[in-house]
Each structure stands twice: as C-alpha cells, then as structure tokens.
Symmetry: C2
Amino acid sequence: MMNKFKNLQDELENVALDLNEKMDVLLPEVAKCGEAKVLEAMRYSTLSPGKKMRPFLVATTASLFGVGREISLQAASAIEFIHVYSLIHDDLPAMDDDDMRRGQPACHIKFGEAAAILAGDGLLTLAFDILADESTHPSPNVRCELIQAAAKASGVSGMVGGQMMDLNAQHDKLTIDEIIHLQRMKTGALFRLSCEAGAILGKSGQKQRIALRGYANAIGLAFQITDDLLDAEGSERETGKPVRQDKSKGKATLVSALGVDRARNQAKMLIQQAQTHLESFDKRADILRELANYIIERKR
Amino acid sequence: MMNKFKNLQDELENVALDLNEKMDVLLPEVAKCGEAKVLEAMRYSTLSPGKKMRPFLVATTASLFGVGREISLQAASAIEFIHVYSLIHDDLPAMDDDDMRRGQPACHIKFGEAAAILAGDGLLTLAFDILADESTHPSPNVRCELIQAAAKASGVSGMVGGQMMDLNAQHDKLTIDEIIHLQRMKTGALFRLSCEAGAILGKSGQKQRIALRGYANAIGLAFQITDDLLDAEGSERETGKPVRQDKSKGKATLVSALGVDRARNQAKMLIQQAQTHLESFDKRADILRELANYIIERKR
C-alpha cells in the first residue's frame, strides 16, 4: 500500500508541510494579551496533524491551470481554516459532543467551551479576511468569486445546513437519497469548494470547472463512505480515532443503509465516475487520479 | 425628549423598516427541509426589534458621499447579520449566559444551543456571501475592501478578541485604559466598521475616512457608557432589558471604575469630540450630529 501510493503520499506530505508553514504565518501570533487564549486555541486546532486533503485538492486543481503552489497555498489555508472551524464547532457538547479530534483532545476539552466557540468564529472570519486580501490573487473579481464560493459551501446551503440536518434527523428513518443529500451538504460542499477554488484561481473555463465539480462530488462521497467503513470495520489503533461511533450514536450512513459490501461497491463506482470526470485533463491530473484510488483504499 | 429628536427618530425608524424588508429578502426562506430550524433561528434573531444603530450608521455615512439607500442597505444588512451573530453567540450558556435579548427569549432558549450556534455561524457566513455579491457594489475592489474591513472588525483583532478578553478578565483588577481597550474591541469595532463601510461604499478620501473613524470611536464609547449608565440607574420597564447586570456579574465598566458622575461627563466629552470630527462635513452630516447627542440622552 505504501509503495503503490508513494508518489501521492509524498505529495500529500509536501503540501501538508508547506501548508503548516503558511498557516503559521497567517494565524495571529500569541502575545501576552487578554485574548491570548482564543489565539492559542486557533493555533492548537489548525496546526494539529491532519490529512490536509482539502488544501491538497486546492493546490492540485490549481496546478492544472498553471497556478503555482505559493499562490494556491493562501486560498488553501483559508479553506483549511473553514474546515477546522467546522470541526471545532461540531465537536462541542451541544453538537456532536466529541472529546477527541485528530488524536488529541478536542478544542473545547483543551481550552473550554467559550474559547472553542470563539476560536471557531475567529477562524471562519480569518478565512474571509485572507480570501479578500490582495496577496491571495491579484484580481479582485477572482477574490470575490472565491469568497462567494466559500460562503455558499460553508453556510446554510452547505456545511451549516448539513450539520443542522444531521442533528435533527431521525436517523432510523432516513432514506438512502436523504443520507446522500445530507452528506453532500455536510462534507461534500467543502470538497467541491476545494476543487472549484483551484479552477477559480486558475480562471478555468466553465467546462473544466464542471468536470472538477463532478470529480469532487464523487470523491467526496467515496471519502465519506470509506470513513464510515473504517468506523464500522477498522480499529482505533489503525484509524487514529474511536471506532463504532456511528452505530453507538445511531447515525445513519450509507454503510448502515446499504450494508458493508454494497457500500464498498458504491464507493468503487464513485471512484470510476471520478476518473471519468478527469478524462479531459492531461497527465498533470494523474495525481488526482491516484488520489481517487487512494481515497477508498486508505486505512485511516 | 421625543420632540427634540423627532427628525432623528423618524429617520432611525425609516432605516429600520427598510432594513427589515431588505433582510427579509436576503435571508434564506424557511421551507420544509431538514435544516429548517437553523433558518427559523436566523430569521427570529435578525428580524426582532432592535435599534438598528449600526445599519443606520452605514446608510447615513454612505449618504454623505451620495450613495443611495437602496445600495447602502445591502452592506448594512450584512453588518447587522454580523452584529446579530455576535449577540447569539455571546448569549450562549458557555459565554455570557443571557436568557433574554431584545425583549424576547434568546436564540438558544427558543431553538436550543446547537441551532443557536449554527444560526450564528450561518449569519456570519451569509454576511460575507452578501458583501462579495455584485449587487452590493459594482466594483469588486470596493467589495473586497468591505469584506476585509468587516473581517478585521469581527475577528480576533475586534469583536472575537474583545469577547475573549471580557470573559477572561479579572474584572476587579482592570484599569480604566484596559476597560476602554476592551470596549473598543468588543463593541467599538462594529461602530467603526459601520461608519467606514459608508466611506468605502462612497469611495471617500482618506481624510474623510479618518474623520468618520474618529466619530465612530467617540460615539461607540459614549454609547457603551450610556448603556452602562442605564444598567446602573435605569429600570427594566424603561430600558426593555434586565438592569443591574454589570454589578451582579461583577463586570468592570467605565461607570464602575469612574462612578456615575464622572462617567456621564466622560460621555459628554466624547460627544463633543464626535462633533469635532464632523466639522469638515456639510449639513448632510446634521443627522450624525443629532445622533451623537441622542446617544447619551436616550433612555433605552
């Protein structure tokens, strides 16, 4: 497995390293001041280990259009800040009530609920601050487009709406279509945003943007199914997080609705779809093709 | 009192009415869907009665530069959404733990904590969505400038930082300078943003923008002192909200630090400063002059 995806895994690691450096610069420094705690909480949660799948998608899709890493990393950081904000708020006791995140105590466990709420608020706000900044892209039209795409993916028509739906759902009564709809909003929207951000930064044509959106939808859902499969079948040691959570919390997933085998087949079909969406791209998209395969074969 | 400020009060009411109409259009409609609850919560908190002082400042400062109400109301709505998001999150049990807001149950009392957290998140995100939209201003540079000003006023260098500082402060040990610094971040930042938004929409010169920032700083602090005076001296019937809260919660304010008389004098001096900042403006700024006087004479 390590060998099969060596190229991709090196690249994922490279992006993660570059991204952490960039985020470190973009995050406000922790000085001795009255608001130090919220600044520490923001750094703690963003600079923690994570797959950095979304920033990787931003950087890689942008590179299809000749946009260099040093440019795309700034938008990628903003999207990672939005992702981490959503994790911090989702983990709160009033929401999913999770104590652990990325192998370390969740933000509210480490810093208390008030600081965690504010750290999430601060990260979301910082993301828009960065996206609006001239250094993200010289064209203000591109920046406004990024901002609107990010807002629509994160707001009530995306992540926020999906999280509300998830909390309110009678999970034992969800149909397969409803589960897919929920996951498209809750986790799919940010995958879509990440791929579209690359296209926006690269001022791609409409056709290419639609293709990347299709790719993102397919891998986003496949990613979620794999997460659910790992939760149903994996071990805490392997995955780095508690398992059997969906079952104990009574959460409907495509795995609970379809069963393990059909869910795994569904994920494979989605990966084939993802590959089809990339057909019009040249070999610069090879790493995205590899990523699609990796997404369903990963063990954590 | 009513007569003295009749012109201003009519104008405040006009803006509030127009704003509510505009916000009603900008807020997502509540349909029968899984995320309906967060949409209801967003409407409940934004369309509730409130002074709408910040939107009024946006509309009025914009009009100094010939920007019509129909244009400025959109940016004003975005800033009001940011204001309301901050109220919703500040009222949460983990934060200030307030059950009532604007004469009605706080968002988390009415809809539960999860929906309240998400409604705040949704409003903050919607604000940036609106500010990035072409219909807010034809120039993408102006839109990016608005977005960055809004993000800086709301984030860790403004509201979020001020709220963290407020929660963590040992209030009995705060110096007067520290109280002023805290209030500049916590409530002053949004007053400043509101006045600057008008200047940004109107593409004002640097000198005028600095003057309006000075005006905003002065009335923002005077507004806060008056709020604290009403809390110390007013009645719940008059002010429409519980009083003696600062004392019972042990909050340091300029009133607790200076005493009632010196605090009132301080507010008067601030209003004189505010008037000085307006000297370079013609009679179109009269309503801002009236507002400054009104701010310290209001009874609620």
